[in-house]
Assembly symmetry: D2
Homo-oligomer: 359 residues x 4
């Protein structure tokens, strides 16, 4: 397995298994002198924890992050920041040994490595996303130095959909509602939906939106590392992600140029932001807005037709503890991946920020 590192200048390397000793990460390329607000990191981890919220499982990890290196007196020193989250609440009945959970990584891991960790799912478990949250929170602290903020929120849970557009969302309301939907009434309907799904021993999909504010213009490398291309890669790497769209996204496909284009006002201000803050792969100073679609969590509390390792048909019996939807726990994970990409591009931009053709 390669590919446990993301980023070019600011790199996060992840390790650990769901039911092993713990999970951890190493953030390298992080500048010296950034104040590390551990409260903020704790808040992001808290958002990711399950704990009685609608749709979440009974696994209850303290998610106490221990920093192993890279900090001194509350600031980054420039050295790689390593951190560790010990596993505590481990339940050894998550998987039926030797039987593949449908639409899950179990089968593909087993084919590729000759190994799948039926005791917890190993690297395929969403437990790994705790690493992303810590790494992403550190990236957010770096971004905050430049006033950049990142906010993910719930746009859709199963068939319940928030119809409000990016532009009209009150970012400060996101955190007030249990499922991180900025509309209280919609949040309530989502909660009901999730409870019904859970009662039916089923699971459901979701769409998460994300808005980054105060992003300076100039981030993004405009051919193969367009800012939105790197964002797409980062968020599509989250477990269960099946779709990504920037700004108007798939809706743009049905529009005409005369309706779509973001026209200019005086002083390079835009009259609209259908492009989602990125043009030609480079941030244009507007808010950066994207969405991610997640499929239903594959683990459901019903028997499913499956195979064992030898290829024999068997029924997979329900077991383990599963969230029935990636929302709400995926919210800080989306923020984390966005922050890692934005911070990496921010540092990259500094390599030529002082140079200009017009000098």
């Amino acid at each position: 397995m390669a590919g446990n590192t993301i980023g070019k200048i600011l790199t996060l390397t992840s390790f650990g298994e769901s039911h092993g000793k713990g999970v951890g990460g190493v953030l390298d390329g992080f500048p010296a002198g950034i104040p590390i607000d551990t409260n903020f990191i704790g808040i992001q981890l808290q958002k990711r924890r399950s704990g009685g919220k609608a749709g979440t499982s009974a696994r209850n990890e303290a998610d106490q992050v221990e920093f192993l290196s890279g900090l001194s007196q509350g600031k980054s020193t420039g050295a790689p920041i390593a951190f560790w989250l010990a596993n505590q609440d481990v339940n050894h009945t998550s998987f039926q040994e030797g039987v593949f959970k449908p639409s899950h990584a179990a089968y593909t891991y087993w084919r590729k490595y000759g190994f799948f960790d039926y005791d917890g799912g190993g690297r395929a478990s969403a437990r790994e996303t705790a690493v992303r949250v810590v790494g992403g929170a550190l990236a957010q602290l770096l971004l905050l130095r430049e006033k950049v903020t990142v906010h993910a929120y719930t746009r859709q849970v199963g068939s319940v959909r928030l119809e409000t557009d990016y532009q009209e969302i009150h970012l400060e309301k996101i955190g007030q509602n249990s499922l991180f939907c900025p509309d209280e009434e919609c949040n309530r309907r989502m909660e009901e939906y999730l409870m019904r799904i859970q009662a039916e021993n089923n699971s459901c999909g979701a769409v998460v939106g994300c808005v980054a504010t105060n992003v300076p213009y100039g981030l993004g490398e405009p051919v193969y590392n367009k800012l939105h291309a790197d964002l797409a890669q980062a968020v599509m790497g989250i477990n269960a992600a099946k779709g990504f769209e920037m700004g108007a996204g798939f809706r743009a496909a049905g529009m005409n140029g005369s309706d779509y284009n973001d026209l200019f006002s005086a002083n390079h201000r835009l009259q609209s932001n259908r492009d989602g803050g990125i043009q030609g792969g480079i941030s244009n100073g507007e808010n950066i807005c994207f969405s991610v679609a997640f499929k239903p969590v594959p683990g459901i509390m019903r028997p499913q037709e499956s195979c064992n390792e030898k290829g024999g048909e068997v029924w997979l019996q329900p077991s383990g503890r599963n969230d029935c939807c990636v929302v709400p726990r995926v919210i800080p994970v989306v923020e984390a991946m966005a922050a890692l990409v934005l911070a990496d591009h921010l540092l990259m931009y500094k390599t030529y920020q002082n140079y200009s053709y017009q000098q």
Copy 2:
């Protein structure tokens, strides 16, 4: 500008401007001994050429690729394969000097580099995609050695949509229709739509689907370089791409697990392929299916409210030659980006293919 190289083992480096001397690329990491069928490369370039098709501009480049290195007697030698496409039909009226085209890269380039190439668009022009097509065609020739094929097709043009699912498409019909829509009747309606849009001096968006067949299981690194994450990055880097979805994509967000999951039949065969051939970031042996959404081409033949470099409000007058839709010319570009990612992951997989936990 960094980010003109894509891939990890098989790397394509791109250079050249729309109205400069030409565009070219270097494909490194390509194995020795692969027969290079220049006919096939010509066919892919031909698909990308405009030439009287509905919705395409009048620019008429011969797109004769010249190989500069890396081949001997019709086979790859293992050395980097460099190639060059000279620009011939250059028209110096594409852009209004000093006025930004709305929803286009002109403004962000100018802010970032202090430079925008108003004479043709430079790196921001879709002319660069010819490089992708050649690099991608070479990757396809490598994939063909393992019987893997890649087929992109048109799913939507503006409001005209192909309703057929991935699974039911006849791949061999794609090439028979002018806009690469596998349904003849739908292709005809798309053509009419494009002609109307063009007559209205407007542009429109599109959705392109892509299917890769005979992909062996095991491709993809399951955490940050999931196969679909790298596909997302590669295709979102195509000009005007605004959305990506894998398998059922955004539709999955509205489904329940019991309806969504791809159940197993005997011998690890799947009863459905809603996941689009990838589970846990690793190919599972099924066809790989994804879609890309493109926004309307930003250049339209109407005056638009804009700004000049000083921020003054001016109207951008229509000029230059623009396709009114990325379809049909983007079809081989999507194939190219998919092939580059699949070939790169195929080579990566070989690094540990002979090792297995069960030995």
Copy 3:
């Protein structure tokens, strides 16, 4: 600080400070199914420990490695292998606060990051090399699968030099002598030299040789990633390394081609190995032989003219615990760096091993 990851396919990421909680690493890209002989890893760590040997300091770390992830039942699973070595014997008097140790990293760190960790040296301490030893030992276990072995040995300590050529060294004798010099008599003289240097409160330099056997032909990318270029980078990254030579090295500069060239015998066997097993950047099937020069350890137990942070002239008073020579402790570190490079190139070679122009 970036640059805490080495390798392209097999990557080692390092973290931790000398007098912090500990040091650790993450080895990614390691194939599944490799038996992990922890005894062997312990032996390599034991070689790196100080402990009463001539020239070594009094710091006595147990160097018990704890594996945090990536192993199951004594084999690698394909997941990233993370490991941790807790610091135990920490002595807080290594550095004089605010005064720069001459020819040491203290000043350059302080200028670059605004921070130097006077309590132990942080990342600049040779404590970090324990991470390399563990990562390298894992790489050696992978290489052993292909029968490749890596042996470093002492060629020179201060003015005492082993005159034997690479070819005539008995590799099995290296481990029998305290300073890893394969010649018992020479080893004894080196010991005496080190004891004298230590008694004089001084330090001295050294040269370490390294031989890799059974290396298959074909490793190395022949332009910018020549096998010996990557070896040079890896071993020059060891603390205090100041020189690298491949095969005959600097001696080759004084030779003529007719004396130097490795002539062929029948069946592509070579009559000599002055090139050190690599030609054109690619291994040729002979033993791979190189040497590394190390400067004297900068810390000596004498007062030295120095500066404080404000630039004022002050004398640095002797303090802390220093080895007086990198030998013998650097021996397993050189082996580690060589093994990491060879294993990485071995995996890279597999990406095109099955392809050939002659097929």
Copy 4:
């Protein structure tokens, strides 16, 4: 073949064969707005050309560089800079078909790729170094913006050695002498030596020194990408390089700390520069000084014992045109590789230059 790209932020990708159409390169990550003095590039190429100088072959390439992209009105635009050097004076008798030249890349290429380009040597020919010279000259122009200069010079040719130390060299004298040795008398003896070697149909090795001035402190990533580690990789990748040393290099191995250490004077000035301008992998503001050893050019005008592809013993007959020593033509190549590394690290340093622990 991978590994035709060097650098992390500023990347040079190289392509082309010795007797193919030409050789070329793509420099990506180069900032916008740098004036491109093509005279300077021509001077560097001119240094690399053979042309009647002692020890050089009769091949006479105009080495006219053609820029294909990335420049506008004499300045870089930020886009990748591609360039091309057409081959003109191609002689098809360089190699004896099917017989391996001893100590040359022919055999290892043939084993690895199943292909060796006996017509000119393909990628293994020093013709590729013209690409490095152009890329490096561009890097030098970037460095000049920060007043950094790079000077290589000849330290040794066969048994003739310049005994002057780095510190005492008059850099401006280097270019006044035919073999780039800053001492006129020594240069004359080197010339005589080369003419004798050539008359004897033999070849000889050499040592090249390099000094970079005005290098700001802070360049280099202090663990695996120490500045001198990256320099070592870059220059060891030059054809025929067999050794690298930083500052005092191998001589340091025989010294004691009390004689070696670079003591401080007031204001952080150093009293000596035995470390060669880098401590702990980071530049310290002093001149950066290193040396490279080259083996004798493998091609000599005498019959040599060799093998054919089937392994049969045959004598290789002398043929082709060979320099008898890498000096003087390698001088601008060493400068190029040093400049590429320094410029890359300069850009990298900018990513965290504005951050400091002490803020």
